[in-house]
């Protein structure tokens, strides 16, 4: 058992996906173990931090892998392919609902979370991230997705361009203007951020 697991652990994603197409359950299990947290977190953040929705969407995403593995092109990167499916699922969901209504309910939820037994600096930092989330919620879907993929999912510019089906220059340009917009909202926290960045620079 251990041997087969280690065999799959060293197998690339694309190879595993081909094995899934051949109905290899171990390969599917390995893929799930690799990507379930990422995808669940992505759906959670993109769908207004609704845990139930994130659970359903994650299940639906992996179910698509089970039923239609032949849709995967082995020449393509598996990770970007998976995220492009997730991105399209979120787009369809946005088309059904209005974003702003959920953004308001999100502000209330996150602000309530931030005041339990923390130091003032921690609270300030938490307040910064809370405000960041609010600001992100007010962005349009495209900018928000670009920001999430870049800073929360840690994807490269090239990967984002593949997922969103646009050029790398477009991705960089969107990122810049998103940062500029967020910066306008978060200037009040500049001092706190400056302290932490200084601390990181000293320690590194």
């Amino acid at each position: 058992m251990a041997k087969s697991n280690s065999k799959y652990q060293s197998t690339p994603d694309e190879q595993l996906m081909l094995l899934v197409a051949s109905k290899d359950s171990k390969a599917f299990e390995e893929l799930y173990d690799r990507y379930n947290r990422q995808m669940y977190t992505y759906f959670h953040r993109m769908l207004w931090k609704d845990k139930e929705k994130a659970h359903d969407f994650t299940q639906e995403l992996f179910t698509k892998l089970i039923h239609k593995p032949e849709l995967f092109n082995a020449e393509r990167n598996f990770k970007t392919w998976l995220y492009s499916i997730a991105h399209n699922m979120c787009k369809n969901e946005y088309a059904k609902h209005e974003v702003r209504q959920h953004a308001h309910s999100e502000i209330k939820y996150t602000q309530e979370q931030s005041h339990d037994g923390q130091t003032s600096r921690q609270m300030d930092k938490n307040a910064f991230y809370t405000e960041l989330e609010v600001a992100l919620a007010e962005l349009d879907e495209v900018k928000r997705t670009t920001f999430e993929l870049r800073f929360k999912q840690e994807m490269s510019i090239q990967e984002i361009s593949e997922i969103m089906e646009c050029s790398e220059g477009t991705v960089k340009s969107r990122l810049f203007y998103t940062l500029k917009q967020l910066n306008g909202r978060l200037k009040v926290y500049e001092g706190i951020l400056g302290f932490f960045i200084l601390l990181i620079d000293r320690l590194s």
């Binding site: 109905k23 359950s25 599917f28 299990e29 799930y32 379930n36 947290r37 990422q38 669940y40 977190t41 959670h44 994130a54 659970h55 994650t58 299940q59 992996f62 179910t63 089970i66 039923h67 800073f151 929360k152 999912q153 840690e154 510019i157 790398e168 220059g169 991705v171 960089k172 340009s173 990122l175 810049f176 940062l179 500029k180 967020l182 910066n183 978060l186 200037k187 500049e190 951020l193 400056g194 932490f196 960045i197 990181i200």
Partner: protein, 288 residues
């Protein structure tokens, strides 16, 4: 001056403070930001986002999700096979001719019939070929002296030849028939009567040398039962027939080796000439 694109700003912000930028870089950056303050605040936010540990923020879904997915996967594996099996046999909602089992059975029957017919035809061809050979042998035997229906153009005496007993030839041996030897007897054959299509390996040899070499060959060759020769020279062949007589390889005999290469063309046009020539050939069939 180096030209910068807006997408390069992120790289500059991450790696350099404003006072560290080159003049042309400053000029470029200031096209997109209001001033030093905005540059620095954006830089701080960018660094904070990049330095925060993202993976610690990843959530873990409920364990029931994995269970449900693995069950779904197992079901998918079974499902396709069972659906296929069901379709082989009676599915009432489908018409009879569309049921998979019926279609497959029909296909198998067609393939079996086709194979049977093909094999039958190939065995018929084989039998026909064998009959052809034996009929030619028989006609050759009939064309021996005394039975010839065409006049001998050279009016020369035709020496009698020992008969070859082909009575056992109807029961064909398992091993291939070996054409052992062709002995031309040239004494009574004018050169012009020698058919050009007959390749005679020993056309220039004398009788004595041939006899000697034959003796040697026979001594070297494994003992084989002698076959009494009947009239093998053909006479009344009306159609051009090319017959290649090929023999299995003899392990020792040079003559047998020649026989492997010998090709005899018999044509009706030259049958008269060939009759004379053929009369002079002694063909011994040795069946191993």
């Amino acid at each position: 001056m180096k030209k910068y694109d807006p997408e390069d700003i992120e790289y500059l912000m991450i790696h350099k403070q404003f006072h560290e930028l080159y003049p042309e870089e400053k000029e470029f950056v200031l096209q997109h930001v209001e001033g030093v303050e905005e540059y620095e605040s954006m830089r701080k936010m960018l660094l904070e986002l990049k330095n925060s540990s993202i993976q610690d923020d990843w959530l873990t879904p409920d364990a029931s999700l994995k269970k449900a997915l693995m069950a779904e996967f197992a079901k998918e594996r079974k499902g396709r096979f069972s659906i296929w099996l069901n379709s082989l046999f009676a599915m009432p909602e489908r018409p009879f001719y569309r049921q998979t089992g019926v279609q497959w059975s029909f296909g198998l029957v067609v393939i079996a019939l086709g194979t049977f017919i093909f094999l039958q035809q190939s065995s018929d061809v084989k039998v026909l070929a064998e009959n052809n050979v034996s009929s030619q042998e028989a006609s050759n035997a009939e064309a021996r002296p005394g039975n010839s229906t065409q006049p001998n153009s050279s009016n020369q005496a035709i020496p009698s030849k020992p008969e070859v007993d082909l009575s056992g030839m109807d029961k064909l041996p398992q091993a291939p028939v070996v054409l052992a030897q062709v002995q031309p007897v040239m004494n009574n054959v004018p050169q012009e009567d020698v058919g050009p299509k007959v390749q005679n390996y020993k056309s220039d040899a004398s009788e004595e040398s041939i006899a000697e070499s034959d003796a040697v060959d026979m001594a070297m060759a494994p003992p084989a039962p002698e076959v009494k020769q009947t009239e093998l020279e053909k006479d009344a062949v009306t159609n051009n027939t090319a017959t290649t007589l090929s023999a299995g390889a003899s392990t020792t005999s040079q003559n047998i080796k020649f026989i492997q290469d010998a090709t005899i063309f018999i044509s009706s046009a030259e049958s008269a000439q060939m009759t004379n020539y053929a009369e002079l050939l002694e063909i011994t069939f040795t069946a191993r």
